[in-house]
């Protein structure tokens, strides 16, 4: 069982991420037991069959970097968990996908970063609306993951608005013109 970061703490995870192997048929592939996050292709192929599990909160869907979150627009109320995959940590498409899910589509459920999720990206991921960070299994020791929690708070007052704080700094805080400061 892998560890995740949620609500600022390291927690044990109850979900399994299903990744298709080459040749797997999304319409027929067997789903692991328990709570499962399926690829978008599986969801699209079997939406009717899987809908009840999603509504029951035991099935979520993950998006790859090249998948348009608008495809899920009609399913958002049914989904308690959506994950976005980072094939490499330096592939930043997931930040825009998360932002769109939260702002454009109004998704309010759990939004999880999966794949090559490293501590030096935690701060950016939180800002773009991810609520759960799931580092690759075995990437960090328990002690390292605890230490990595400080990366959630790398910057206390970022300049620009984002999902977590939609207003930019100049709207959030009174910033003073120079002559007033000097007076």
């Amino acid at each position: 069982m892998s560890e995740i970061i949620k609500s600022g703490r390291v927690q044990a995870d109850e979900w399994t991420v299903l990744r298709l192997a080459e040749g797997d048929d999304p319409a027929a592939v067997a789903l692991p037991a328990g709570r499962v996050i399926v690829p978008l292709a599986v969801w699209l192929a079997r939406r009717d069959a899987l809908h009840a599990q999603a509504e029951a909160g035991v099935l979520g869907v993950w998006l790859a970097g090249n998948e348009d979150p608008a495809v899920l627009a009609g399913d958002l109320s049914a989904l308690a968990l959506i994950a976005v995959d980072f094939p490499k940590f330096a592939d930043g498409r997931g930040y825009s996908i998360a932002t769109l899910l939260r702002t454009r589509h109004g998704y309010g459920g759990e939004l999880r970063a999966i794949g090559d999720v490293l501590r030096d990206q935690f701060f950016f991921l939180l800002r773009c609306g991810f609520s759960v960070l799931q580092p690759r299994e075995g990437k960090y020791s328990a002690a390292q993951l605890e230490a990595a929690l400080t990366s959630l708070r790398d910057f206390s007052e970022p300049y620009q608005g984002a999902v977590d704080r939609p207003e930019p700094l100049f709207r959030r805080q009174p910033r003073t013109p120079l002559h007033k400061e000097a007076a």
């Binding site: 930040y95 825009s96 620009q160 984002a162």
Partner: protein, 562 residues
């Protein structure tokens, strides 16, 4: 120049702590080479031929004397006694030790400086006109807008891992001195028919492997919306820019692939959702940022009679003034360009002593401020005319008064193969060899305005495509060769140079330049500049001359050996 408030300061302080920890984890083996690379790059740290290279941000080229002295101290203490001004107005040190970088960043943070996003696949240092705020042809001061963009782009969480680097430049004058047409986003501050302020937005310009002039995607974006509009451009790019091939990952390739009409449509669609959102700018915020520049209040002075008398009496001073002194919007003041192109020195280099001495000049003559230019020189923006003669003498004493600004020997060059791990060929020795060939000042003045730009590789840091004469280092079976382009230009008439033909060995380069210059002199009409002659008669005539004279030299060389 812009002075930090407590929030600006806190962000750079927190960055210092963050990077110190990242460096510690890297050195302890907790971060792999691949994991550390993007992190250090986003802090301007490259691993180079000899040592790490640290690139320090100089936002839109603005520096004060305190910062200059800190840079001098860094050059002396952590480097080999010099620093280098880049073609994006930043400053590079070529010899720091990785272990020392957190300490250097700490020193920089104490004087409101940093190395944030000076490299990596993110939004880079915003560049602008070095004469911003004082140029007579300026309609709007671009600096507050640059600072607003700097703050917006600093650690923007959505755009920290773009497909490739992203450069923004802003122009607010009639003559574009920020080369906005070759930036990923070029912003031109304009007024619409109703007199309202806004931005003409160009996207997809760039040099590098595939040089392209940017195309207009919006004729007028109201100033309140400019961050929203930029966010729309960046989001379309972040989602759809190519990530499979680093050479095709810049936004210019996406714009070309979609066509500018379709690209603009996608941006508009995104912008429709963002318009009037929380990032919409307010007049209060613009005024606040502008106030923090704390510019000196200048009142017009009588034209200085002493200055005019000195121009007549002192020929050397007059020669310098003709090249280095520029008009100022306030009567009785001038802007001055200090040349970092004395002969035999790497273009754009400053020694530790020169950093300190320039700081002294800034304090004595220019309200404590200077600007770095993309041509790799230093500007003192506001100097009283009455001080110019003394300033010239002081600048001459520290080797910064070569009267060659805008002339053939004011060469733009990247660090090239002497320092850069990416380079195919050396740049600096070529620049120096050309400067040697044209060391006669009268000849130089006669040739007139001419820009030679040298890049050591395709990445085009030396902006060779937009040089009147461009020189590109290429690798030919392991040997260093140079490809020559003619007809490039920066500014309002921005154009990309044309390759004249097969490349040349390093030793041939001064002769090649001589052939080009002689062809110009034989063909020029009246006071036509080199580039004007090229435009009028075409590149072919230059090409023919260069290769004919080259063949003649080769034949002469062969017969001499018989």
């Amino acid at each position: 120049m812009y002075q930090y408030d407590e929030y600006d300061q806190r962000i750079v302080d927190e960055r210092v702590a963050q990077f110190a920890d990242q460096t510690r984890r890297y050195l302890a083996g907790e971060l792999s080479e691949d994991e550390f690379r993007p992190l250090r790059l986003q802090n301007g740290l490259y691993i180079q031929r000899h040592a790490p290279m640290l690139r320090i941000a100089v936002p839109y080229g603005n520096l004060n004397s305190t910062q200059l002295r800190t840079l001098g101290h860094i050059a002396r203490t952590y480097d080999r006694g010099y620093g280098h001004i880049t073609t994006r107005q930043n400053i590079q040190f070529n010899w720091p030790r990785l272990e020392d970088v957190p300490e250097i960043l700490d020193l920089l943070a104490k004087v409101q400086m940093h190395a944030i996003q000076t490299s990596g696949n993110c939004i880079r240092n915003v560049t602008s006109d070095p004469f911003a705020g004082v140029a007579p042809d300026e309609h709007v001061d671009p600096r507050p807008w640059c600072e607003i963009l700097r703050q917006w782009s600093t650690f923007h969480p959505e755009f920290a891992f773009l497909p490739r680097k992203f450069k923004i430049a802003v122009n607010g004058a009639r003559e574009d001195r920020a080369v906005i047409q070759v930036h990923d986003i070029g912003l031109d501050i304009v007024r619409n028919a109703a007199g309202e302020l806004g931005f003409r937005v160009l996207v997809g310009g760039g040099l590098g492997r595939t040089p392209i002039i940017g195309e207009e995607v919006a004729a007028f974006v109201p100033w309140q919306q400019i961050l929203n509009y930029c966010e729309a451009v960046l989001r379309v790019y972040n989602l759809h820019g190519r990530r499979d091939n680093a050479y095709k990952a810049r936004i210019k390739i996406l714009v070309k692939a979609l066509g500018v009409t379709e690209f603009a449509r996608q941006v508009e669609e995104e912008f429709a959702h963002l318009k009037d959102g929380p990032s919409t700018l307010t007049q209060a915020e613009i005024d606040r940022v502008a106030s923090r520049f704390n510019d000196p209040v200048l009142s017009a002075l009588e034209a200085d009679a002493g200055y005019r008398a000195q121009l007549v009496a002192d020929k050397a001073f007059a020669a310098w003034a003709r090249r280095s002194v520029r008009g100022h919007r306030v009567a009785g003041y001038a802007s001055v360009v200090l040349s970092l192109k004395p002969y035999g020195v790497a273009p754009g280099d400053l020694t530790a002593e020169q950093f300190d001495a320039v700081a002294d000049l800034a304090d004595r003559y220019a309200f404590g401020e200077v600007r770095s230019t993309h041509e790799q020189n230093i500007v003192l923006a506001s100097v009283r005319e009455a001080d110019l003669h003394q300033l010239w003498q002081d600048a001459r004493a520290i080797g910064l008064a070569t009267p060659n600004i805008g002339l053939l020997t004011d060469i733009i060059a990247c660090p090239g193969g002497d320092f850069c791990a990416l380079a195919n060929a050396k740049s600096i020795p070529i620049a120096n060899a050309i400067q040697d060939r044209f060391d006669d000042l009268d000849h130089l003045f006669d040739i007139g305005e001419l820009e030679i730009n040298i890049s050591g590789c395709m990445n085009a840091c030396g902006h060779h495509h937009v040089g009147h004469i461009g020189i590109l280092g290429v690798d030919k079976n392991g040997a260093e060769f140079y490809q020559v382009t003619v007809g490039g230009e920066q500014g309002n008439q921005a154009a990309l140079g044309k390759v004249i033909g097969p490349s040349f060995a390093a030793a041939e380069m001064p002769d090649v330049i001589s052939s080009l210059i002689n062809n110009y002199i034989d063909n020029r009409q009246d006071d036509e500049r080199f580039i004007d002659t090229v435009r009028r008669i075409g590149v072919e005539s230059f090409k023919t001359r260069v290769y004919a004279e080259r063949s003649a030299r080769q034949q002469a060389g062969e017969s001499a050996h018989v």
